[in-house]
Amino acid sequence: MDISTTKDTPLPSTPPPPAAEEKRAARGATRPGDRIFLGLSRGSGIFLLAIMAAIAVFLSYRAVLAIGKDEGNFFTTFEWNPTGNPPVFGIAVLAFGTIVSSIIAMAIAVPVAVGIALFITHYAPRKLGGPIAYVVDLLAAVPSIVYGLWGALVLVPQLDGLYGWLNDYLGWTGIFEWQGGAPRSMLTVGILLAIMILPIITNVSREVFRQVPQMHEEAALALGATRWEVIRMAVLPFGRSGVISASMLGLGRALGETMAVAMVLSSSFEINLSLLDPGGGTFAQNIASKFSEATEMGRDALIASGLVLFVITLLVNGAARLIIARRKEFSGANA
């Protein structure tokens, strides 16, 4: 086999210069085995691109079918009744809920995650840092359905006290007004999402903080900086873009989270300015909860809302990747 294949292209007597070899590799060799193998692997890459394209095309196709029949404005209608006569549905409530819950989640998760990452890399006793990082790694693998179950059965009953307190002291703002219903509201969703995305943000931030050049830190220490000053002047500036992209990855997860939100939120199709009162919904949650009783028209409408979600997560993730790509030193985003 070897002999027969090597006969086809006699090896050059001297090793080719690297540039020439690269060219040859890129063109694919002339041996049939090589050609088949290159075809297979290139085909797989193209297949992957085709899937991404197909997702966009087919979702758009069904979405256009649905939006064509929509009597309301798809972007501004506060209603979801795709089976009505005439069908009326819009994503205003979903967009609002998705953005609000993600903002809450990010506001809680990012500072805490950066804190944990700093704790692991700079504050924890050496012997503790490794195991903690390991456990956080494992926690990132806990499926969202388990977070949902925990959120619905353990977290929600715990939140009465917090809600009462927020209502007592901050109720006057209107945002923290509470009518006393079960705390299955946007704030609860935000808190749960924050807990869910903590591990991923922590992991990526930790990796970046660990890559801070030792020299920078030692130089700062040698100048008499305290530990906090080292972090503020050497670690955080170095890790900023890494933390930003980590947060965007977390945001991408929070935007697309389905089951946990569906299990915790008591949804309704209205925009509720108070974060403590039940109501509202998110793109993903709405799809999961409305799917089982949806007719074909209903499914198309849900697909239309899914397309919007797809585009949003695409933009967020693309931005995160571009930030990462700009920094070549940083790798390991897919922990």
Binding site: L38, L49, I51, I55, F58, F119, P143
Partner: protein, 354 residues
Amino acid sequence: MSNATLSDKRPSTLRAASLPKWFSWAVAAASVALGLGISAALGLESSIQWALIAGVLFVAGTFGIAARVEGKRQAKDRVATSVVWVAFLLAVVPLASLVWETVSRGVKVLDTYFLTHSMGVVADTEPGGGIYHAILGTLEQVGLATLISVPIGVLTAIYLVEYGRGKLAKAVTFFVDVMTGVPSIVAGLFILSTWILILDMGPSGFAGAMALTILMLPVVVRSTEEMLKLVPNELREASLALGVPKWRTILKVVLPTAIGGITTGVMLAVARIAGETAPVLLLVWGSNFINTNPFSDPQASLPMYIYLQYANSGGSGAAYDRAWAAALTLIAFIMILNLAARGIARWKAPKTGR
């Protein structure tokens, strides 16, 4: 530092005045006591109230005392240290609670009966029944997804590392990254729009497996790519210099060297998709009966089982118990995969060329 030394009353010592090690603990204890005292005196009931007062007292106390004795910069450092510790402890509480509740509530009904029986003759609100059908469904769906995505994913990674230069490779790299972020429900909707709505197929385990494939592919590609990059170039060159064709070099030299890492990546990817619920909800629907055929009719899966037990329970304790036990089984499955994957990674780590 120099300021602190100059203002110090004892210029002969080179060290600035510093507070004893127990200082932070003492301030913490004092502020908790004060917080409790103040809220008791004012008749405040909420535990958030005294915790908040204690927190403010702690920060103010630490900063004030440390600023007087050690200087402002040291005081800031102390406050930052306690903030970082608090961030850590704050995160430990919910995550520890999650693990603890799942284990303690899950072991209640988890036994061999639970693992070997389905929900076929048990109403959702009654005690009894088990997760056999769900385990079966999860294994079949995840197995199918792995069968599809591993060859495609590994080949794509080989293309990117061994052949890929130019625009196509760049596009693939970028879209693999973007694909990692596709929400699972969108993957589900895609298969729904093609397989079920356009091709008019019914729900089946295979439909779910296709959606899981979309979620698994980028993870496999990414981890395989990383591993192939670790294979030292000298190995490839040695093989090519012996006249071995490139494709055989990849199959016989590169892949075997990286196989440990690739296995790890695949296992982590399996662990990731085993817990996906949304695509299963849209495409497999879930079921209470044993369905061994993944190519037709609804099938159960572990995450879907948890959701159904939660949603259809009508608040019954028996259903919640089953949901927790299934959650514990699922977490155990995923954790074992994770630990095994890491074990393999450590055991078969490719020797990086030096």
